[in-house]
């Protein structure tokens, strides 16, 4: 009899534990700060067609957007996608307007692939963006590049959404 009570108690604890773990896992996703910026923008009605909910979206503030909006790349590619080119055009326009602004483009990769190769790939990505800006009339001396390879992910996750968000060119004021 005592044994059965104990077994039932154990069962209850186990089930409770199961629920707790599930709720913990859910929490992790919803607490990500970048989702909040996503919500703000959708209120402003500039919802992006991009399906990745974690990517930052335009706020309308040119200074903020210049830093916040990254360009994204396909796996093992440093080619500029159509979206990346559109974004770079707006960044070029911004830089033309603010002639005293110098920038650094950081090239980043997702965690797949090898550390050393990704350093080189990250630099190719930053270089593609730099070349594009120069083609649009921005002085090369205003655009510095650096590659961090897979060393500084924007998203620490190990899934397709995280990888997509990490394959990026990030823009910084110098």
């Amino acid at each position: 009899m005592k044994k059965r009570v104990f077994a039932n108690l154990l069962m209850v604890l186990l089930v409770a534990g199961l629920f707790l773990t599930v709720s913990c896992a859910q929490k992790k996703v919803s607490v990500d700060p970048t989702t909040e910026s996503g919500q703000t923008t959708s209120e402003q009605g500039t919802a992006s067609a991009d399906t990745n909910p974690l990517k930052p979206v335009a706020t309308g503030d040119a200074d903020v957007d210049f830093i916040n909006l990254d360009i994204y790349f396909d796996f093992d590619s440093s080619e500029l996608t159509a979206e990346a080119q559109t974004l770079l055009q707006s960044k070029a326009a911004y830089m033309k307007e603010k002639g005293n602004v110098n920038i650094t483009i950081e090239g980043h990769c997702d965690e797949r692939g090898t550390t050393e190769y990704n350093l080189a790939l990250g630099e190719r990505r930053a270089k593609s963006a730099q070349d594009f800006l120069v083609d649009l009339g921005i002085a090369g001396s205003r655009v510095n590049i650096i590659s961090y390879g897979e060393e500084k992910p924007a998203d620490a996750g190990h899934n397709a959404d995280a990888w997509e968000r990490n394959r990026r060119g990030h823009f910084m004021f110098k």
Binding site: G113, T114, E116, Y117, A120, L121, I146, E151, H158
Partner: protein, 444 residues
């Protein structure tokens, strides 16, 4: 109880037997290697390592004796080609009956399947340890190695490993891994620093304190220098650091200065520099001066590794549209593609005897370690279905490969396996994440 007379007799016997057996044996099989550890179908040699004989008494000695025996067993089984037979099945006890050839009934050892027998004797005088170590071929009833070591108690590990090097020399014709070290990257408080440990993961210690991201450590042949890349000053620069003296160089050209690899036996290295706007491989002096450019192709060329004779360089290039491994002959300047299977092959590592290259391949989203003959023959997959596996580096005898793997809860840690992929085991337990292992040469 052993009186001094007996000890004297034993010592006398050892000296005589060492001379007699070692010399005759050495002449007899001067160029005969018993074991080819690069043979893919290698069978482990069963070896017995019974309890050491104590030549004095006391608890302290007993501890040292057990410690010495364990060090010996751990080191020899680490090689991957020796299997230590469990002490419990031993039919004889040389720690009581004697450790010299005349004391041993080899049928006791062949009877349990042991092909090799190592006996040890130990004596402690103050803080000085004396070790008598012998390895016998049990079937031929021959002494293969016989050595006496004297040293401080703290040097027990060194003495045991010296003997292991002798054992390796006798069995494989090479001194083995016992005097080698492994450099690697470990994450400390979110920063990546360079660390060094012994061949078996023992005594890991931090050697850089940049509080930045430091990557790709590479040993010089003489193990006196380590080159690595670091963002310590903002840009990704190449650091060439002497481990014994406080000297070195930083190569800090515009762009990346990464992926160093030392030329065998030279104070020069290959590295990937991107100051022209394009990552290319260059040869540099140990002082960081460019000797010449090795690759000349638009797009990524990186991760150079010298062949053991220093005449060729394997590297990663995207010149064919996907990252693949190429080999450049530095004498003829001829370049050929090595890997054709799959669309992502990187991180080449040239085996010490020059015949194979280990690398990282991505197939169906899985990151694994492969090896391939330098003519593109006999490709082999060494890791499978156990996390992401990266950064292969060969042991100096070519018998083992160290690599990083995320197989344990997604956290990258260092593992070791044989060159055929068997016996995969964790190298060391350390907080944080460990990647980029590089195995040094052996230097005595």
């Amino acid at each position: 109880m052993i009186d001094t007379k007996q000890i004297k007799f034993i010592l006398f016997f050892i000296v005589i037997s060492s001379f007699m057996f070692l010399n005759s044996r050495f002449v007899y099989c001067q160029d005969v290697t018993i074991l080819n550890i690069n043979n893919p179908s290698i069978r482990k040699i069963p070896m017995a390592v019974p309890k050491f004989k104590s030549f004095s008494e006391g608890e302290v000695l007993e501890n040292d004796s057990l410690k010495a025996q364990k060090l010996l067993m751990d080191a020899l089984s680490f090689t991957g080609y020796i299997k230590i037979i469990d002490n419990q099945v031993y039919l004889a006890n040389p720690s009581e009956s004697g450790i010299a050839r005349k004391d041993i009934d080899f049928l006791d050892w062949t009877g349990i399947g042991a092909e090799l027998l190592v006996t040890g004797g130990i004596n402690l005088e103050g803080n000085k340890v004396k070790l008598w170590l012998r390895m016998f071929d049990t079937f031929d009833m021959r002494l293969l190695v016989g050595k006496i070591y004297t040293g401080e108690r703290d040097d027990l590990r060194i003495m045991i490993h010296r003997f292991c090097s002798e054992v390796s020399m006798k069995l494989t014709g090479k001194p083995g891994v016992f005097n080698s070290k492994i450099a690697f990257v470990s994450k400390v408080k979110g920063k990546k620093e360079i660390f060094i440990c012994e061949f078996d993961g023992f005594r890991p210690r931090q050697i850089t304190f940049h509080k930045s991201i430091s990557l790709s450590p590479a040993w010089s042949s003489d193990s006196e220098w380590i080159a690595y890349s670091s963002f310590a000053k903002g840009n990704n620069d190449l650091y060439i650091k002497n481990l014994k003296q406080n000297k070195g160089t930083i190569v800090n050209k515009k762009g990346m200065n990464i992926t160093p690899a030392w030329a065998p036996g030279q104070f020069s290295l290959a590295a990937c520099l991107s100051f022209t706007g394009d990552p290319e491989i260059y040869l540099l002096t140990g002082k960081g001066k460019i000797i010449k450019r090795v690759t000349d192709s638009w797009g990524i060329d990186t991760s150079p590794k010298f062949s053991p004779d220093g005449k060729k360089i394997a590297f990663v290039s995207r010149r064919a549209g996907t990252p693949q491994i190429f080999i450049k002959n530095l004498e003829t300047n001829h370049i050929r593609r090595l890997t054709f299977e799959g669309s992502y092959n990187t991180s080449p590592a040239w085996s010490p005897n020059g015949d194979r290259i280990a690398y990282v391949g991505i197939k169906r989203g899985r990151i694994d370690i492969y090896t391939i003959g330098i003519e593109g023959d006999f490709p082999a997959q060494l890791t499978n279905a156990a996390g992401d596996n990266e950064d292969p580096s060969w042991s100096p005898d070519g018998g083992l490969i160290v690599f990083s793997s995320t197989r344990s809860r997604g956290r990258p840690q260092l593992f070791v396996m044989t060159a055929t992929g068997s016996d995969q085991k964790r190298l060391l337990k350390l907080n944080g994440e460990q990647t980029d292992p590089d195995w040094s040469m052996v230097n005595n």
